[in-house]
Symmetry: C2
Subunit: 322 residues, 2 copies
């Protein structure tokens, strides 16, 4: 994405169910000033926007005021790029259709774009991260769930309704043993390859055998993907195999995704990527084993270079340059 | 796609391994004149292009000459939209990289675009067919193999290398019993949902039980999808279940594809669509059963409206308007 503007900054808003974090960002992806408010403290969206505008003022002063801001981008759950609305977000206090872009445009007098977290992450990678200069790549976010942002020809794919790119809900297991998913169906990629999916795999592996493992010292219901990572680091065989299982499913799924858009790269982001080669080595192997010959050796499998705590704000801010 | 031009016609070339069919097409998708040459009769591509230009002359005279032609589109195996080349096509006499667009541009003095058959079919539907006016849809061609052309934001997705959109090679069965595919892997969609896939299913169903079926009157190795269709029409239970099995796999796969680009429609084209509701009813049912809630009830599942024998030429010609 080429950036040409007289106004040197954008605002990024990472809107979560609990906190809303605002950053003022320059063209290199440096956050020049930051502020935050509690999302859930404002039952009326109008009050939230007012509080946000007030909280932003000192941050705006740092960069010379709103006249130096080109635009604002918001990453929020169920945010629809086409309409500028948040639509029926389960994790937010505001119900139904919330015209968040229009309200911020009115309050701040600058263009505002919204999208969901994974699409914002893709924008962030394309603007400031490892996907800079790429026109075709697929962002995969590995957190509590699995999200995705698909970039084709330099633009995020929004599809007919603004909700394209839900690769976490591609079904990778059609068997009767497939895991049930929060979406109401079974066998979705995210039931295996999210942080919670890794914990489920750990519980399954523990219950299926009596093999010794450090993970047995924990209450099975409390096991997290980080516990599995620590066990792997301590040389625990089962923990290593849990990531192997996870990486192989994800790698095979990505090989299928390549048949869709033949990307230059897959970019992985989120807590699970901290597992490093425990996850990435089997992922790469499964990708190469499953990829169609015409795509073989083409796509890079990359881990995001953005600072985890800043990435969401940076990703949202990237929309502000559009 | 909006068509605004002083020049009212385009040339479409449907290049197959045996025959090359040329059509001169107007903006409504009417073929005004047609001609053909034998593809395999010209071991040198230069001679092929020369013969094509000569064969085209009488057809061009019908529409007032080359000055009334806006451009030419070629649908050919392994044709790369980005480069204008045919690359290592197994079914053509010319080996390696063949600069077919450049050669035709030189011979005819008009812009020439190339793409593969399934992408050409998508262009044809968008320009003259059931996808007219749509900006997001997925074309699925059900012939000897399964091909696809994916349209996002009004443009065919070509990806990083020109070869995006090979949904026939998405793996729908990862089990050890998955069918082997011509691509060297196992479990590809096209091993189940192509015309040859239907014939394989018939042989499997016949060998697995002793259930009576009209299909037993045929040599198993000679069974075609058309035989299965005729048996279904004659009330044969097994034949109906063969299409049911095929449609269910295809419907579930399309539900996954929706998670990628959230299309307005899927458009099915090719010999297998002649099976009509035997295929489409289970396809629709499986799609609805497998679709993620956010996409539910959104995409239409349509059968191409283009005349089968003209569709390939029309699809190719659609590229000529670009």
């Amino acid at each position: 994405m080429e950036i040409t503007t007289e106004k040197p900054y954008v605002i990024g808003l990472d809107m979560g169910g609990t906190n809303s974090i605002f950053g003022i960002v320059d063209q290199r992806g440096t956050i020049k000033a930051q502020t935050a408010i509690k999302t859930a403290a404002y039952p009326r969206i109008e009050d939230y926007v007012k509080a946000a505008a007030e909280a932003l003022q000192p941050a705006l002063d740092v960069v010379g005021g709103i006249e130096n801001i080109r635009g604002m981008g918001i990453g929020a759950p169920n945010a629809n790029y086409y309409t500028g609305n948040i639509e029926d977000a389960a994790n937010l206090v505001w119900k139904g259709i919330v015209p968040v872009a229009a309200l911020f445009e009115e309050a701040l007098g600058i263009p505002v774009r919204v999208t969901n977290d994974a699409n914002a992450a893709a924008m962030g990678e394309m603007t400031y991260g490892v996907a800079r200069g790429m026109k075709n790549f697929i962002m995969i976010t590995l957190g509590t769930g699995v999200g995705s942002g698909i970039v084709v020809d330099g633009k995020v794919v929004y599809g007919s309704d603004g909700f394209a790119g839900e690769l976490g809900h591609v079904i990778v297991d059609h068997s009767p043993e497939a895991r049930s998913c929060g979406c109401g169906r079974c066998g979705c990629l995210e039931t295996y390859c999210s942080a919670t999916g890794v914990a489920r795999t750990a519980r399954e592996f523990l219950s299926r055998s009596a093999e010794p493992s450090k993970l047995r010292e924990l209450n099975p219901d409390d096991i997290t993907s980080f516990d599995v990572y620590q066990a792997a680091e301590a040389g625990d065989d089962m923990a290593v195999r849990i990531f192997d299982y996870t990486g192989r499913i994800l790698g095979a799924a990505c090989a299928d995704f390549a048949a869709f858009s033949s990307p230059e790269a897959f970019v992985f982001f989120g807590g699970l990527t901290k597992a490093g080669e425990y996850l990435m080595a089997p992922l790469r192997r499964a990708y190469e084993e499953n990829i169609l010959f015409v795509y073989r050796g083409k796509a890079k499998l990359l881990v995001s270079s953005l600072n985890g705590s800043e990435a969401a704000v940076l990703g949202a801010s990237a929309l502000g340059w559009e």
